[in-house]
């Protein structure tokens, strides 16, 4: 089990693994999302009180759930990147941030569109809405921090620290509706009573579970693809990428980085060398 993990941490192994997995995730995710949205929009009955406007739940709830899950995943990857200096984890942190920011933005916008006809206001400063907005700013902070450093490895580590500090906001978003008074309602599925006895009728719940799981699979596919691209970009001087691109391998002792294509756990010396190379490469690319 552990050796499998160690092997997966090596960029070329990860690249091939992701290449095999991503298409299946994308197909399954798109199917579930498509069927779920179709059932949600056309098959599920209208709500007794909100009528058809409740149907935005089929986008809003998956987007909001993912906004929290992606941040948590980003923080876990950040901890791995900081403790074990694993390069693949650094890639995971910075590639997750734009996807998470998009889902957070989607959750906020769909929530506002639902809030106007339901509550009577697009926005109020209650605990749930404010904490979700803070979550968006945390994602944007990670994105900004990442582009503030010229060296991608230093940038990723700074982002990992921010991800870890910000993870405290995840339980705050989730439990805000239980700890404090808020205009936003409590959770229909993910509460102590809700799991045993959902507060949403079965025929309305089924499409929701489909769009929920579909969104997670879709996110998995997008994340893997983004990580693949970032790995290629960071390892572009490594021989396995050159071979992949149909280029001749660099001669021994030239700019080839011995640690790059090897196991993901690199020691300090190689990472310092890699940093200089990456900085030089980035300067040239800009």
């Amino acid at each position: 089990m552990w050796t499998w993990f160690h092997r997966l941490a090596s960029p070329p192994t990860f690249y091939r693994f992701a290449d095999r997995l991503a298409p299946w995730l994308l197909i399954a995710g798109t199917l579930l999302l498509g069927v779920g949205i179709w059932q949600g929009l056309f098959i599920a009955p209208a709500d007794y009180l909100q009528g058809d406007s409740f149907r935005i739940i089929y986008i809003h709830v998956p987007a909001a759930a993912l906004s929290l899950s992606i941040y948590t995943a980003m923080a876990v990857a950040g901890a791995i990147a900081l403790i074990w200096r694993m390069k693949l984890a650094e890639v995971a942190v910075i590639t997750a941030a734009p996807i998470g920011a998009s889902f957070t933005f989607l959750a906020l916008v769909t929530g506002m569109l639902w809030g106007k006809p339901t509550w009577g206001a697009y926005w109020v400063w209650d605990a749930r809405l404010t904490a979700e907005l803070v979550l968006l700013f945390l994602y944007l902070g990670v994105l900004g921090l990442n582009s503030a450093y010229s060296d991608p490895r230093t940038a990723a580590r700074a982002c990992a620290w921010l991800a870890l500090v910000g993870v405290v906001n995840v339980p705050i978003v989730h439990f805000s509706v239980e700890w404090w008074n808020s205009l936003h309602q409590g959770s229909s599925i993910l509460s102590v009573k809700g799991i045993a006895q959902p507060k949403i009728a079965g025929e309305m719940l089924k499409p929701l579970l489909m769009t929920l799981s579909g969104s997670y699979l879709f996110f998995g596919a997008v994340w893997l693809r983004r990580m693949q691209n970032e790995v290629l970009r960071r390892e572009r001087r490594a021989n396995w990428v050159r071979a992949f691109a149909g280029q001749a391998p660099l001669a021994e002792g030239s700019n080839a980085q011995p640690g790059m294509a090897g196991p993901g756990l690199v020691d300090a010396a190689t990472s310092r060398q890699g940093r200089q190379d990456d900085a030089a490469g980035r300067g040239r690319g800009a």
Partner: protein
Amino acid sequence: MTKRNQRLLGVVALVIGVGVAAALGFTAFRKNMMYFYTPSDLLAGTVPIGASMQLGGLVEKGSLVRAGGLRVEFRVADCAKNIPVRYDGVLPDLFREGQGVVADGHLDADHVFVATRILAKHDENYMPPQVANALKGDPDTGKHSCMPFKAVESAAKS
């Protein structure tokens, strides 16, 4: 201790430290995190008269009176107390007796809450009309819960 263990310790200490700081901060400022006061808070006299605030609760069944024009009067209740509300304006579509509302406004000298804006607070129950109609016969399950309306003051003490 190896370098890696030091980093592990650093990460764990950071997460726990930030968590404890947030927990202490939010416990101390719990009142400030509350979006609205409840009728119990207002009747306990802890809220100054004339101060602008939000009041949350359920519109009591049978209490709605249309007083000509856009003016409405009704009572808002939490699990324990209720208080009269007066409002001159457009009500949200989802405003019903028995439903949750959050009103912006202030308490006047006669202990009537004068609202300047009313928002409907939806709850977490979603169901088709047939199910809702079937539930209406049942006085316990058909009623909207007063539980989401937590008193600010008593909650802060406990």
